[in-house]
Symmetry: C2
Subunit: 411 residues, 2 copies
């Protein structure tokens, strides 16, 4: 595999769209020309997120506007073929997050062959694309990996009110694609699925059209589909200490191959928005324990004021979800609003695709969600999909690949 | 109904988010404060599209990035109640397109009452939101309107290859919401649906994540999910002559109430993208009659070069769709790419939500679609939803309302 950061003449980047005519000339002349989505991979103009690092991007990264999330099942039992796929995926992810097309591009290569890239992201910016991989519990049943399954990768218990659709739950692995442009996120998932043809198949996928949580406290807090600011008391991407304490798996934690990784819980939460919309402002604010306009906790004036839990109703969402009600349990939320058309009854199939990262699910999502059994919000929501993934550490450099610490013998 | 363009003290706009704390103070003090999404309705900062005009916005308007389209069925048989709804909708549309919340806003009014606005667009820009209404053939069966049904509002014939799902087809009326921010488009449809509670119900809806057609030739042409530039030879929003000739219903056309309006065909077109992605570049280019990189017609060098149809394969999409193959038939395309998760077979449910505006469907979509029966593209696509709407003329001023020329006795 060649270093994509130093483009060679036969795989060179185009200097933006001014050069498109030129490139066409070269392609017509028989040269294999890879198309770049951005000016130059080495100068990402602030809109490409670094792919390499100790942790995978897409977790502490400031939340992008749009999401395409896909859960895959593995259909091969050939471990080597699967490892090869992880390597190919890593290379494609490296290229796409830098704003490049996959392989030889959408019209490089031979005319007689299908293009390497599907092409719909040509001309679009990198758009802060991040691609984050996770491994589901069922993956460890395959390829003789049961002894490497983290203890923290528990099977989630059944929670009160769960109404899970198995067609929207589980998966041997997942790819979370976040970008400021949905076309870039959709393109990435599609091209990874395509590279995986014959080895993996998409089990379910979810598009998120609007972020509901921010990890950048200085930015305006986004609003969820209930109209409330969401993410106020989230872990910020800059809070190194809290990230270390609550999000990243530590060197001292077991198993060693997860060090620098995290655990991801995904829950598709349907909102009964028609009912919600008929609820009084007072009741809505009581349910969250915060006011709707400013987002201030009950009795306080400003969004960022410290919540005083006892001023809230006992069944207020914020009161029940707060670390003080859960022995300090703290998660990093990264959810997105979704709208998937209409159900059979003319109601919008809309809600929150909840994503939470944490160092240990047993000290993060599970206790909080148990506490939320008493949540007043439950009258207006239902959990209809659920999945859990071990998110391995970051890809360190151009020779590293997704999942190496799990699959490589040396690791 | 008061003039929302000159905010009164009790329904005043907020000066952006700097004023949010202030507003909360006022709200807490018992004042009913409507929240504005933008600085000031009278100074839309370039990002609000005028709602009033001879034609509805959202047709010749430069295509926005995102779409939420909803088809409704009317559930009331009370004509007056329906007319009242059209007036309420107009008022809400006027406010939302200007960047304001509906009515008293998301936390104005009484704490004991549900807020007038659902709130998730608070703090977002107008985002060039347009709301465009259309009336389906079935509406004319209601309220004794059969004699006012335009002849041009034919029932669409069955076309070769159609595989229509009636749950994604038809509708008594539609709202097309386009905006550069999907949350703004989703918010608008949801709030209109809410205002219509008890009178209309959503029959189906479609989210579009990426525009596939441009009506601004100077901008970069967007790419569809097949990776090709789409909209190259579209009617531009600035081509007054072609708009007059092919898009707007003329004063001389029948019926008079449609003058200044247009007809909209919506088709949900599923793409078999997995099959497409395995097709060679040569074949892909043959199918469209244009090359993939530049978008130039066969044998030509540049995207905007005049196509030479005879150089293309006889079954090339562009050759068959071109006006010269269809007695001059010309439409304005305004479609969006969609991805709605995965079907039962692990394939992305993705494609093109095709929207076309024209002065007369019998001289626009119908002949072109008939000609496309021979289209090589048909191996890779399937039409799975279909609807047709008469789109009435624009709302002229603050006293006018959607559908007045159809429903008002004076008209
Ligand atoms: C549709 C479902 C949900 C909605 C609409 C929702 C909404 C909110 C809102 C508006 C806040 C207050 C602002 C903030 O600090 O972010 C909040 C806080 C929070 N939520 Fe949720 N939430 C939902 C589900 C969940 C779930 C399933 C969990 C975890 C099991 C969760 C955990 C939290 C936590 C930990 C906080 C912060 C509490 C604090 O420290 O003050 N939420 N949520
Ligand atoms: C998934 C389905 C479709 C795809 C992917 C598609 C794609 C394209 C592309 C890439 C072009 C060439 C660039 C351009 O001028 O815009 C084009 C042209 C065109 N298409 Fe389609 N199209 C589809 C369906 C339709 C349908 C259903 C109609 C109308 C019945 C239609 C009508 C046209 C017209 C009128 C042109 C311009 C022809 C010319 O004047 O050169 N297309 N289409």
């Amino acid at each position: 595999m060649t270093d994509t950061n130093s483009p060679s003449p036969s795989r060179r980047s185009l200097l933006g769209w001014g050069g498109a005519g030129l490139a066409l000339g070269a392609a017509a002349a028989g040269g294999a020309v890879a198309m770049a989505r951005t000016e130059d991979a080495t100068e990402p103009a602030g809109s490409a997120i670094a792919f390499h690092g100790a942790h995978q991007a897409g977790i502490a990264t400031p939340v992008q506007d749009r999401l395409h999330f896909a859960a895959f099942d593995v259909t091969t039992d050939d471990r080597e073929a699967f490892v090869r796929l992880l390597k190919d995926w890593t290379e494609a992810a490296r290229r796409m997050t830098a704003g490049h097309a996959v392989g030889e591009g959408a019209y490089g290569g031979l005319a007689e062959a299908p293009p390497d890239d599907t092409g719909e992201a040509l001309g679009l910016k990198p758009s802060r694309l991040t691609l984050t991989i996770g491994f589901g519990p069922s993956l460890f049943e395959k390829f003789g990996l049961t002894d490497r399954r983290p203890e923290a990768l528990v099977d989630l218990p059944k929670f009160a009110g769960d109404n899970l659709d198995k067609n929207r739950s589980g998966g041997d692995l997942c790819i979370q694609a976040c970008a400021d442009d949905p076309q870039v996120a959709v393109h990435a998932v599609r091209n990874l699925a395509r590279i995986g043809f014959g080895k993996v198949v998409i089990r379910w996928s979810q598009l998120g059209f609007g972020k509901t949580s921010s990890t950048t406290p200085e930015a305006q807090t986004p609003r969820n589909l209930m109209g409330f600011k969401d993410g106020t008391r989230n872990i910020a991407g800059t809070e190194t200490d809290r990230l270390k304490k609550f999000v990243w798996v530590d060197e001292k934690d077991e198993p060693a191959w997860m060090a620098g990784g995290s655990y991801l819980v995904a829950r598709r939460i349907r909102m009964h928005i028609e009912t919600w919309d008929r609820t009084s402002l007072q009741e809505q604010e009581d349910i969250f324990g915060r006011d709707k306009g400013e987002g201030a906790p009950v009795g306080k004036a400003k969004e960022r004021d410290e919540p005083f839990l006892k001023a809230m109703k006992p069944d207020a969402h914020v009161r029940l979800a707060h670390p003080d009600s859960n022995h300090g349990a703290t998660i990093l939320r990264r959810g997105y609003s979704f709208t998937d058309g209409t159900d059979g009854l003319g109601r919008l199939d809309a809600g929150l695709f909840f994503l939470a990262y944490q160092r240990d699910v047993r000290k993060g999502f599970i206790p909080i969600q148990r506490s939320l059994a008493a949540d007043a919000l439950n009258e207006y929501i239902q959990h209809v999909g659920s999945a859990l993934f071990a998110v391995p550490p970051g890809v360190r450099d151009k020779d590293d690949w997704w999942g190496r610490t799990l699959f490589s013998k040396e690791a």
